[in-house]
């Protein structure tokens, strides 16, 4: 846990005329960590990224990235960080490879790295294709490939899988976890709770510009698991929900002894439900957040 802190926000606030977009945001991000910044549209996620990366000035508070205060950042910071937004464009008439070669030139990266990244992102076979002919998922992988071309120390991802099909989203998740293993710090904004639970070491639940909770997804789910329950599917295809009462514990022990249990799930709340409890607001539920179970299904398809 002695990883180096690469990003630090200390009571950062941002006001747009009459609207308060961010209020007293404090957090840190360490090397090899994925931090999720979760909230509905308009919660202030993109504003936070813009402040941290020097694209926008905060109204008060301090933001430090790689040891430099955000107000002192210049263009050279982008040689150490990568930024992916949900509308990052590509040069559509250039080939996939040329798109990366251009940025390899800008970021002083050897051309061999282009081939390496093309292979990592599964775009090698599409390298001769004009970028405008790529599918949305392939296009997003190209954007990601470009952002990691120079092996940034921090990667900022603003809704990286927004609008992508589940299979492509899983491919991108796998890429991000591989980058994390290499020691890259990742700052991820999303309103997809399933994605956050899959990827993030810690999540900040953001609502109306304020952080309501900041901890690991597991810790938050346990914290908000006030009514402990277990859902049991039995051999005769019936499903029963048991509490921690002595009577129910006795029943559960009996089912287990008699080998009647087919499945057994703890019923701690999902991150979506935690968000609702912590903020009183519901997140968008169109991102495939229809899981009923907690622990197991959160990690489906991705091994951290």
């Amino acid at each position: 846990m002695s990883q180096k802190i690469v990003l630090e926000l200390n009571a950062v606030s941002k006001r747009y005329k009459t609207e308060l977009a961010l209020k007293d945001i404090s957090l840190t991000l360490s090397e090899g960590e994925i931090l999720g910044f979760l909230g509905p549209s308009g919660a202030g996620k993109t504003t936070a990224i813009k402040i941290i990366t020097g694209q926008l000035r905060q109204t008060s508070g301090e933001a430090r990235i790689l040891g430099t205060a955000s107000e002192n950042l210049d263009a050279s910071i982008y040689e150490k960080i990568g930024v992916v937004s949900d509308n990052s464009g590509v040069y559509e008439k250039m080939t996939v490879q040329r798109n990366l070669e251009i940025f390899a030139g800008i970021l002083e990266v050897p051309k061999s790295r282009v081939t390496e990244v093309l292979q990592q992102t599964g775009l090698y076979e599409h390298r001769k294709k004009p970028a405008g002919k790529l599918s949305r998922g392939q296009g997003q992988r190209l954007v990601l490939a470009r952002a990691v071309l120079h092996r940034p120390r921090i990667l900022f991802l603003d809704e990286p899988t927004s609008g992508l099909d589940p299979a492509t989203a899983v491919q991108i998740h796998e890429m991000l976890l591989a980058l994390k293993k290499e020691g890259m710090a990742i700052f991820l904004t999303t309103h997809n709770m399933e994605e956050a639970a899959c990827l993030c070491d810690r999540v900040a639940l953001l609502c109306r510009g304020q952080i309501a909770e900041l901890d690991s997804p597991e810790a938050l789910c346990i914290k908000y698991n006030t009514k402990k329950q277990y859902r049991v599917r039995l051999e005769n295809n019936t499903e029963v929900t048991l509490t921690e009462s002595p009577e129910d514990i006795g029943k559960l022990t009996e089912y287990l002894k008699e080998n009647k249990v087919v499945t057994l799930h703890s019923c701690e709340p999902t991150l979506e439900q935690v968000f609702l409890q912590a903020t009183g607001y519901r997140l968008n539920v169109d991102q495939g957040n229809n899981q009923k179970h907690s622990g197991e299904t959160r990690r489906k398809g991705v091994v951290r």
Partner: protein, 246 residues
Amino acid sequence: MKAIKKTWAVAAIKYEALVHNMAVLTGPFMTIGLVLLMRFIYQDKSDGTIHPEALASLLVLGISLNMCMNGVAMVSSLIAEEKEKHTLRVLMTASVTGGEYFAGTILVPLLLTVGVNLLILPITGCTVSGAGLAIYFVITVIGAATSCVIGMIIGIYSKNQMSASMLCMPVLFVFTLIPLFSGLIEGLEKITGYLFTGVLSEAAGEIAQGRVYHLDAFQTAVLIGELVIAVLVFLLAYRKNGYEKD
């Protein structure tokens, strides 16, 4: 060295965008075609010669069109495309500074505009050499640079290529039509002296008639001053609009 590499990369992007954009590429060909057509109309049908005043107006027409169609319109379209496709922010977040973006963006259109300005001379049939050619070269380079930078400002304030075309119209009217019609309307003659295209037109007209032209202090100030102002406005617009209104 780093800055040169980044500038070169931006120039490569612009070059590739240009060769793939037929609408923009037709500009130089249209200018040359129009000058050829007008020369055919103006020339004496019996011996193919052109009256020096007609030659002067042909050259003025050529460089005015070139400055605006190629300088202003081409550059504004290239930048607007970048905003439309959300690649301008990508460049900004890939460590490209305002200065590098400026230099890289202006390089190819500037070379093209200056090239067409030089090509117009033999096409119109102007025989300029020595000091006249040197002055023509210098003032058209400055004029081409100013028109390219004005195109960049329009591009950076545009949301897409369509709005860039719309924003170009009033600018083109001011910088092209005022010098062209200044000889016909008295009020315009006073205004044209304050425009870089006006100074260029006057110089080109004189050079085309075989006279040695010298810029006076006021004309030099107009040419240089408008270029400097355009560059400053662009850098300000890049910082403000490029980031926050992309």
